[in-house]
Assembly symmetry: C2
Homo-oligomer: 158 residues x 2
DNA sequence: TCCAATTGCATTGTACACAATTAAATATGA
DNA sequence: TCATATTTAATTGTGTACAATGCAATTGGA
């Protein structure tokens, strides 16, 4: 997946035809690499909280809205139960959440925060700022980039 | 990791203090989600080539410059040998590359394309365009986004 | 009402991704 | 020259990520 466009004074040059497969010209690789870098930068910040990065995302979703079914979590995070079930089991083992069969519909599993899980939010509140300073980007650019990525995701899903 | 900045006419609003941990306000999640979406979009395009997405990235790197050591590939792709060694073994098993100990320094392993690996490039050349149309983004925006992500990666690594 | 279709989650199998560790080869400095 | 430090790739262990499949519960339509 490459970009093809006319050069403009403020836009980087589009790749020549012979360069279509160059790594540097792939948005997909830029995404993959940046995402990997950011995820890696989170690790030392989340370790003291006893969370991996995907677990942190799950906790973010639950702090925002709990209890939630596995399906709802999966929709919020674009993850399937193959990923979520073992992850949630580990979060339950760590004492941060409980997993209960829904009483009205036994297919559903409700994920609820424990007191420890709720208490973790205060410590986690320090993580975003700690990470932000590692990005070395002006804040307006961060907001812009985030919005662009969300726009891309929206378009791809439509 | 959130964005904090003053609102501007064209920039999305920065999150309020109480919203710092909201999923929608995390650049990290926007990156993670977009990257996941793009990777997933590649899968059906790469399957006929017998490649997974990370393998495709490795092949892109080798089409650009081969032979290469595992270390060089790791540097180009920000992956370590824990990830690369099994991946390269599978590429070798598929007949696309060979793995040879370097004669001058036996610690190094040279990864070289086979004829089949080289021939694969022509088929792979169709992938970027096929994917690009799934992004539903103007091309100048694609180039911009790519450049911004590369800038972010550069800054994080400095 | 009843049965087929659908849903929700768990499991299975495969491929990453990365920290920590290991073993062998090479480089470095006294 | 030789011992130590460093380098390179492989391995080990753990946690994702996702397609395919399985099972039980629920839904929907005849």
């Amino acid at each position: 997946m490459t970009a093809k466009t006319k050069s403009s004074p403020t836009t980087p040059a589009a790749p020549a035809a012979g360069d279509l497969l160059r790594l540097d010209n792939q948005l997909c690789f830029a995404l993959y690499a940046a995402s990997g870098l950011v995820t890696r930068a989170y690790r030392p910040l989340l370790e003291p909280l006893g969370l991996t990065y995907p677990q942190y995302l799950v906790m973010l979703a639950l702090w925002e809205d709990a209890p939630r079914t596995v399906k709802a979590l999966g929709q919020a995070l674009d993850l399937d139960s193959g990923t979520l079930t073992p992850l949630l089991k580990r979060l339950e083992a760590a004492g941060f959440v409980t997993r209960r069969r829904d009483t009205q519909d036994e297919r559903k599993v409700q994920i609820e925060l424990t007191d420890a899980g709720r208490a973790l939010q205060a410590r986690a509140a320090e993580v975003p700022a700690a990470l932000a300073c590692q990005l070395h980007l002006p804040l307006n650019e961060i907001v812009d980039l985030r919005a662009t990525l969300q726009d891309l995701a929206r378009r791809m899903k439509a």
